[in-house]
Symmetry: C3
Subunit: 360 residues, 3 copies
């Protein structure tokens, strides 16, 4: 009776055996009754899911424009409790998720920071998570360790009372809801130009270490006739794994370090920060590359419909004077993050019907 759902569990001998499998083989472990139960990898999203979730986010966003709609939204899940477990700090992602919960009325508990008192007492991370799962209906976690959310979900799915786990970023590679928000922002910006299919997108900056541009590249396989431009200094170029993936899926891409030559060609420019906070000397200016900045003077070089995105926080990659141009989409992108996360949570608790009904 207390069981929320019954995830399809494949029988592995244990974590070691399970963990040795490639991601694509493991995806069913996080599904139940044909629906996603945990959100761990960007690879879980296919075109149908992405379209569905974008449509749901649109409905939520529009409902939230009126008091009546806001009140309908907050009555969807006020009986549910979420836990934000952010071992790795991230103000932005934290607030985005928290307010997405608030939009739908969920009550939120939060643990922020590097250790809990139980860890101090020698508790295993699995036991800590299982404790959290005892109290709430949803766990959203962010962790510096790759695979943390995956292991969490895997462990919980073998207990009597699994609750959904959403990966809010774990380690250097997976941050699936960032990928969702990027897709949703692009779809919204291309609303009047036929959507993402057939678009040319430039990704600029630190493509080597940028988690967002890597995930976004992977997701391009879900769209038709997309063409990518990787614009980066040589030492920060896109890694081979992504390039091989794109080649395998016949997605054309170009590499260059000449940003200005790409500007007139593309429908969207996805700017990123050189992530030198991971460098030994984070304040070093040696790693800044002004030729990969987008400046006010560049606004005349891009398409009238070209959308400028950035995962934020920015440093100097985009001049503040650009903010006022209607093509600057990065602040809308932040709000898109909240709406798509609200859509995701609504999906996990299966209340989409109540939302779509408002538009029937």
């Amino acid at each position: 009776m207390e069981r929320f759902a019954e995830p399809t569990l494949q029988t592995y001998a244990g974590w070691e055996e399970y963990h040795s499998k490639p991601v694509t083989e493991k995806l069913d472990c996080f599904k139940t009754e044909g629906r996603l139960f945990d959100i761990i990898f960007a690879q879980q999203f296919d075109r149908q899911f992405l379209d569905y979730l974008c449509r749901l986010a649109d409905c939520i966003r529009i409902m939230a424009k009126t008091k009546l709609g806001q009140n309908k939204l907050r009555h969807l899940l006020p009986h549910k409790r979420a836990m934000l477990y952010f071992v790795q700090p991230s103000t932005r992602t934290f607030l985005s998720f928290q307010n997405a919960c608030h939009v739908l009325g969920l009550k939120v508990s939060e643990i922020r920071g590097s250790s809990t008192s139980s860890e101090v007492k020698g508790e295993s991370p699995e036991d800590t998570i299982r404790t959290f799962a005892s109290y709430v209906d949803l766990i959203i976690s962010r962790h510096h360790e790759a695979g943390f959310a995956e292991k969490t979900a895997w462990v919980l799915n073998q207990t009597e009372r699994p609750v959904p786990v959403v990966n809010g970023g774990s380690g250097p590679d997976q941050h699936p809801t960032q990928a969702l928000l990027d897709i949703y922002t692009l779809e919204r910006e291309f609303n009047n130009t036929g959507g993402l299919d057939g678009k040319k997108i430039a990704m600029v900056g630190d493509l080597k270490r940028g988690r967002t541009v890597r995930s976004l590249s992977y997701l391009m396989k879900n769209y038709k006739d997309v063409e990518l431009y990787f614009v980066a200094p040589e030492i920060f170029g896109m890694r081979d794994d992504i390039k091989q993936f794109l080649a395998r899926h016949e997605i054309p891409f170009h590499e260059t370090d000449d940003f200005e030559s790409v500007m007139p060609l593309v429908d969207a420019i996805y700017m990123t920060r050189i992530q030198n906070e991971y460098s030994e000397d984070p304040k070093s200016e040696a790693e800044t590359y002004p030729e990969f900045y987008f400046k006010a003077e560049h606004l005349s070089k891009i398409h009238a419909h070209c959308a400028i995105l950035h995962p934020i926080p920015r440093r100097h990659e985009i001049e503040v004077a650009v903010d006022k141009d209607p093509r600057a989409a990065y602040w809308r992108q932040e709000r898109c993050g909240m709406w798509i996360r609200a859509a995701l949570i609504a999906y996990l608790f299966k209340v989409e019907k109540e939302i779509f009904e408002e538009f029937s």
Copy 2:
């Protein structure tokens, strides 16, 4: 008009005189109109109260299984505001209380960590608490100082606007809601075998410093024909004060360091952690005692109905493989903690009637 309730205050010359009295003489200070107003000591609980609260927790737990029930629960106290003042960190107890509040709809403010800005400015702890009491309707506190919650409640009860204080753990001795949750878990586990009366219970591990096993032993005086087995290495044996208390109340107990010999005899095993985080060298393995671990191989030695409890966090005292056995009650115990705390809060705000009515 603003007064929430009128606690019966005995007239002492001041804190010093009051404080010098034994606990049993002071209990009336925390009652009003025949009901508990503050929850400070496990000694405040008699059999009638324990049975009543367990029944209330059962109702809440069952209501929380349906959306309708969840919505009724969260409409009980949405007009009330609670404050979690956790000077001593405790992730688990914090989350348990916070979610208990969320279940009933209370809004929660939280202060976690060792100091507030006002303390820095030289404010007395009494003034700090009185400030908190200005803003909320309930204070739940956890503090490293013995007697902190008691003094807090005593001070507030002499003001124009006292609010109930719940002791979420203060110092080495009192943690009354942990005792409540242990009792509630045992009652639930013994649901089909006639309840706690007449049961044999083993307490295992660090009985000397374990606050939970000490409180639980005290509460046994409320039950009939209970028999206790203290299983510990000699240096961590149960202290004399408890043993004298049990003798005075004619509760039989046995002491041994032979865990396996006790296993087949008992209806419940209450495991505890060797609390060497208080040792000078907390990571020392010298203090671990594998002969006081409960392992998967022991499952065949215990009764078919024997319940295994643990206050969590655990280290190695219970092998993870034991978790899947239906007799492993420690994860249920965590949820019991949330339900019994919700029951306690419902009691303090006198909304039990609305809950019981659902079952009439």
Copy 3:
């Protein structure tokens, strides 16, 4: 459509030009449609506004005495989300605002402490604030830098989606909601003696550095026939800027270091703490001045209706024995802070009508 309101923006070339103007010229930047949109300076409050807000706070306070009223209040703004951004810690102000939000049903996100993860990544404070504004409907900020809230509001007001900013204290000078709560407390205490007009008020202690007494002095220009007594050791006397302001507005004031001589003359005594936590040696007792303490023995020297205020936290300036005297208003003052802040938030979201209607 997503725009909450349209603040009247004067056209300045930029922040530098704007910032160089005197406060009185800038006030219109924080208004829209004839109403305050952001709450940045105490200078924004005129007599009409102060009276209006005090009346609103009274209504909220009275409604909050019944369950029915509490439920009406919490249904006013449950569809709105607030953000408490407290870079400078302040337990009391934080809790006061948070519970004011809870009274009205707002959902609250909080950032407490000196840095966010985005600042670590090199983000500008303006970008950080703009991010917060993406997620919520109201920002309440506290910052150690003078002008922080002002700049925040100025930046947001030039975006597509400004949200109101409330200054919860920025730097050494402005803390407008503290001024509001002091005015509201005085009006309440003078409820039976005709209100603030015509009253004599003593301000005692560290008048040089005390932000509260400085703001309160400024606001006196809104009241008729008020007379002030500045009681301080010579080195902590009221600064010349305030004295010139009072002279300009023909508000009589007296300066003395003889506290006892003033006691029988005044209708209210506003006590303050010597703020030696800003001294090099904060624990120094050298800066304590017992002749500026209010002691139980002084209760016989003041008027039967004289109100004793203190912004709290106190150290030794008011003897604890004074607390029980009905003229000790400082604990009521704390609750007044919550009510007037709730009134302010209700005003910013334009729900006063629903509140006043309860009394029609």
